[in-house]
């Protein structure tokens, strides 16, 4: 079935097909439409979901944690400051090993307050123990939500999953969507059958204890092991999803990388823009390529190193500013991934698109020009720079 839907609409539709037990709902731009559309499904009796409206995102995540611990399948959607307000609870959900599904519609984090897209919200939560899967477009946003539960609920993973899409660019743009039949989705996701849960009366349970130093480290190691194990499960679920949808996904996507000498590494909707730029450069004979990181947590370090092997110069594009004074988060990960490679490409970091600053195919082509120059001369210049901002003179 093909329909024209916005990213938010299609995520709400996916959630309807998944028919979760509980949704913790609090509105925040640009994710507001997700609980809004979903509330209509609830009102129309099209889902059996307990729709809990709360007074803050701290509470919406708390609702999800409590309900998931009780044995329910729970979902949530938020953006930006909403995700920041959940911050404490994100760690609780992950450490209690509750496979909650959260849709993060990426928006810049205050301040200054800004409602447009960048990745500073979910990048701030990158070390919270959640699996993070990023969408390039509406179709991927839909597909990722449907794959979230089979990944997170697997006993040897048992981690919460955050599926991310770019605010407005993806959430509000209408695209042609290929939707799966609800019966197919239902069969694919199956019933949620946790081995243990709070309301299992023959086996009452304690959740979230005070964990002293005698045990805390062991539990953290288990979480780390689960995150490592999640890689294989994500690929397994993607393969199963490929069989029902005909669409294939990996941890990352390589675009025209076979013989690429110059490459970009980036996340999200900019991949669409970059692919167009790569195509244009290829027509001119430039060996350009792109690696789109789909799964950021667990980070596909080995896969990325393999994808970049053979390149000469690479620009890592971060859509969030980490203020490390040493580059953005994706840059750090990429540097680590490449460290053990015998022949590393020259690597630069570009922080771009903050607070919805536009990035065009022209910008990307210009960046490839810089990469070509680096590959030729070996002179990197500044490793870590910003792109798309005006100079003082331009503003004055």
């Amino acid at each position: 079935m093909i329909k024209q839907l916005s990213g938010n609409e299609v995520v709400a539709y996916a959630l309807k097909q998944l028919n979760p037990d509980v949704m913790g709902a609090f509105p925040i731009t640009p994710s507001t439409e997700i609980p809004e559309y979903f509330a209509q499904y609830v009102a129309d009796g099209q889902v059996n979901t307990e729709f809990v409206t709360v007074e803050s995102e701290h509470s919406s995540m708390s609702v999800c944690i409590a309900a998931q611990a009780a044995g329910a399948r729970t979902v949530c959607a938020t953006s930006s400051c909403g995700l920041a307000l959940m911050y404490e609870l994100l760690y609780v959900a992950a450490s209690c090993r509750l496979p909650i599904t959260l849709v993060c519609v990426n928006r810049a984090l205050s301040g200054p307050i800004n409602i447009n897209n960048d990745h500073s919200d979910s990048m701030g939560a990158r070390d919270s123990g959640w699996i993070q899967i990023y969408a390039e477009n509406n179709q991927e946003a839909y597909d990722n939500v449907i794959m979230a539960m089979p990944i997170g609920e697997t006993p040897w993973v048992r981690l919460p999953v955050m599926t991310c899409m770019d605010g407005f660019i993806t959430s509000h743009a209408v695209e042609n969507m290929q939707l799966l039949d609800s019966d197919v989705v239902k069969r694919f996701v199956g019933e949620y059958k946790p081995e243990n849960y709070l309301l299992k009366k023959e086996n009452p349970l304690a959740v979230g204890p005070y964990d002293i130093s005698a045990y805390y480290m062991e539990h953290k190691v288990l979480q780390a092991e689960a995150m490592k194990a999640a890689k294989a499960r994500i690929l397994e679920v993607a393969a199963e999803f490929g069989r029902i949808s005909g669409r294939s996904y990996g941890l990352l996507e390589e675009y025209r990388m076979e013989d690429a000498e110059l490459a970009l590494v980036l996340i999200g909707s900019t991949a669409g823009t970059a692919k167009a730029a790569v195509d244009r450069l290829r027509e001119k004979g430039v060996k350009a390529g792109l690696v789109k990181i789909r799964v950021f947590r667990p980070f596909p370090g080995q896969e990325l190193a393999k994808a970049l092997a053979g390149t000469r110069a690479v620009a890592v594009m971060d859509k969030s500013e980490g203020f490390s004074a040493n580059g953005g988060p994706l840059f750090s990960e990429t540097c680590s991934a490449l460290y053990d490679c015998k022949e590393r490409p020259y690597l630069i970091n570009i922080v771009y698109g903050l607070g919805g600053r536009d990035v065009t195919t022209g910008d990307i082509e210009k960046l490839f020009g810089r990469l070509a120059n680096i590959a030729e001369t070996g002179d990197i210049g500044s490793v870590y720079t910003h792109m798309g901002q005006r100079s003082r003179e331009e503003i004055a």
């Binding site: 209690c96 090993r97 009452p204 349970l205 304690a206 979230g208 002293i212 045990y215 288990l222």
Partner: protein
Amino acid sequence: MSKIYNLKREVEKPPRLTGGHRLCAGCGAGVVVSGVLRALNQEDRAVVVNATSCLEVSTFMYPSTASSSRAEGGQLIQRSAPEAFRSAWPRPASLAPEAQFTFCSAIYIASASANNAE
């Protein structure tokens, strides 16, 4: 019809907050929580929820908890800590198999036919 509260009758119930927790000697919190939990009938099951606090960390320290989900035939049934953890992390040998434990520590009783209604 509700019964008149009778302290003597209430304290004859087996405690839901067991001894051995780490609250300081003389701390009022334990007494209060015991009193609140006695509002449950013996056959009731309860979900006990407690915000992070001194009370929580003192009564609910992995791998045990002082809160018990129910009292059965005068004998307390308790369960060990988070199953999500426990399935992957074995129970310490020092805990006898029958000494199992339940949920968080006290204060808010979320379920069960709690009151002494008859």
